[in-house]
Symmetry: C2
Subunit: 418 residues, 2 copies
């Protein structure tokens, strides 16, 4: 074994392929005789010194990790603040890294994680501790700056497009005497990337989804209902895909309209699809069904995109290579060379350009009427859902997902308390 | 071409594999030189004399039909009443069948369709018209009598078990700092077959889903919440699968508890998962997510069960064979010869034994505490989700589902008005 260890941690909402990145990190490090520790529950495990010795996992388990959704070491939703505001935590982090001779820190997450990795690297430099920090991209929200796309997005996008195409065939068959409108709620609080991906399900404006509602456009109820009616009159039925983040012109989230309390004082959990379905029922008198796939859309490894899966592994492998070359404070990002044929490569981008930035959907991706996607959006999105990367299935009809042993490393420091 | 035509119609909620049955019907009939008409939108098309000439479809299209979800000719939710109460409709039906020289009528649906097929056959006999009526089984609800299982159920069951397993990995990864409870709402108004299928996702009581709520047991809120707390305390998180049909001890549907009107007088669409999630949040103070897959679960052809797909085709093929043998008023049903190895065959059952009966889940399928399934349930369910029957995918990353031409046959009778 070479001197020093590599610490890998997962952060934020997990995806269908973040473990593929983890698998690639471990595989690449093993090939180079580097010991890999993983933090339990992301940065929390690093702070708590709850570390996992990945060398206890078999090669078969690490291979299986590449087709297992979820976050094998646990993730967390913990955002570290500025170096000044959160100095104690950053220093504790550095102390843990030192105690375990961590020379390479790979943080697999979104904007916040890139920011954390950047700050840890700055602190290490200030203390003269030789540490290379790498941000590794991941998010179904597809909102990371610099990188052409984010591992995790392509698979969620494929799930969305496939599910919408399938449900639309159901609705079309039932519309004469039953459901005429179907509403699908897609993740995306700030940007409509996944809603846009649903647009891949249909080729013409009369194909489902006939209406997509994006957070990039103000929700105009009268216009929306008129559009639904127009589509039902013409096509006989209508599939609506709505981003969870759509807002009224005054900035109120539509999702907050439902919910509240019922007459018993019970919390009513609403959501965009439920709200829109209610309006269609009330105002248009049409039979309506709706779906909230929620976590299913980001964990659906069974319908992962091959492109996405390959990119998730590529950023993991590149992260180790960049780390070992000592390229500090960078993120391996996906660069698109061409749409047709689709060609991409990995490059290193400075974390300063990624941290705390948010990629918006380009304005030319939305159709003029705001209810669909343009050819430019298709050209961007389509390669990302291309190819199938099925997990192996067992004789029991279920995917063979691995559960790691996650053997703890003995702690060397006093217990940490916030 | 032989004398006489065969009329095929789809009824009720469609499934991921009802078109596989249609494909098998047409393929088998073509091999025997029998002309197949299909009714547009089920029995409605037969009443309205809106018939489709399937001979206009290419062999490739009929092959592709076998991997296309939805209902290719349209389905409907129309229940014919008794012969006495609905005599005019039955007589019109017979008139249409006669006008198109229909000698074999195949009705692909559930209990109601079996009943309709039975009554049409009785009326034809009364009028001395030579007609063979066959009911062809289909329903994700798995509630048809006599048959061991219903085509459509196995694929929805596989979707359910796979989705729950995947979402559980997501929840497990996030539980330390985020979502601790996840609620999945499964179809099943009267029987908990699909909720039971979710139980296949885990092998031990600590595996997800740790709690299943069945319509077969009264919903006891205090006991449920206590169980959620117990699981979260032990496992760290909890996945709940709830049948849409669960009821309070007094018979009120839990799904009806949410909903109602908001302060603007807008309809609030509730549902079981949304309600349960609200209770978990209010009473236990735990972060909760929930999903309502709705139509996604019954249209998910991309994760169809191979067993189910084969059985859907087998009943279609057998239906044609039975029809041509003149076996009137029967349904090809699936008979299970053994669990291990799983062996099944097709037999003919009299429609009188299927019509208007409903198969309940056996009492010994539910664990004593009512929150899980037994080994007997597993032995029954597991073969039904076995095997994958992926549809072909295009270069665009989407499944290649076919849209038929559905060429109309010229009407021979006056327009029909109810």
């Amino acid at each position: 074994m070479a001197q020093g260890t590599l610490l890998y941690a997962q952060s934020g909402g997990v995806t269908a392929v973040i473990n593929a990145t983890a698998s690639a990190v471990i595989t690449e490090a093993r090939a180079r005789k580097i010991k890999v520790l993983a933090a339990r529950n992301g940065i929390l495990g690093a702070l708590r010194e709850e570390l996992i010795d990945t060398s206890k996992e078999s090669a078969a388990a690490i291979r299986a990790l590449a087709h297992t959704p979820g976050g094998a070491f646990g993730s967390c939703r913990v955002k570290l603040k500025s170096l000044e505001a959160d100095r104690a935590r950053y220093e504790r982090l550095l102390a843990v890294l030192k105690a375990h001779d961590v020379r390479w820190f790979l943080y697999n997450g979104g904007n916040d994680s890139a920011d954390t990795a950047l700050k840890v690297s700055q602190l290490a430099q200030a203390f003269g501790y030789p540490l290379t920090c790498i941000g590794v991209p991941k998010t179904v929200d597809n909102d990371l700056a610099v990188t052409d796309t984010c591992p995790g997005f392509g698979s969620a996008a494929k799930y969305t497009a496939v599910s919408v195409r399938e449900a639309a065939l159901d609705v079309a068959a039932m519309a004469e005497t039953s459901t005429k409108v179907f509403v699908y709620e897609a993740m995306g609080r700030h940007a409509g990337w996944l809603a846009a991906a649903a647009g891949l399900a249909g080729a013409s404006p009369d194909d489902a989804p006939q209406i997509i509602l994006f957070p990039e456009r103000a929700y105009d109820e009268a216009a929306f209902l008129a559009q639904v009616k127009k589509v039902v009159d013409k096509v006989g039925w209508c599939v609506v895909v709505a981003s969870e983040g759509i807002q009224h012109a005054d900035g109120r989230f539509v999702a907050d309209a439902g919910g509240g309390k019922d007459s018993f004082g019970h919390t009513q959990l609403g959501g965009v699809a439920s709200y829109l379905a209610g309006r269609v029922k009330d105002q248009l008198g049409l039979k309506v069904h709706w779906t909230l796939p929620d976590y299913l859309q980001r964990s659906a490894r069974h319908i992962a995109s091959k492109t996405d899966w390959e990119q998730a592994q590529a950023v993991g492998k590149a992260a180790v290579q960049l780390a070992l070359k000592g390229q500090n404070a960078v993120m391996p990002v996906i660069v698109r060379n061409s749409d047709v044929p689709y060609r991409w490569k990995i490059e290193a981008a400075p974390l300063t350009k990624v941290a705390n930035h948010e990629k918006k959907m380009p304005a030319n991706f939305l159709r003029k009427d705001g209810y669909g996607i343009t050819a430019a959006a298709r050209a961007y999105l389509e390669p990302l859902i291309r190819g199938e990367a099925y997990p192996p299935f067992g004789r029991d009809g279920l995917p063979k997902y691995v559960t790691l042993k996650n053997v703890a490393v003995a702690a060397k420091l006093p217990k940490w308390e916030e």
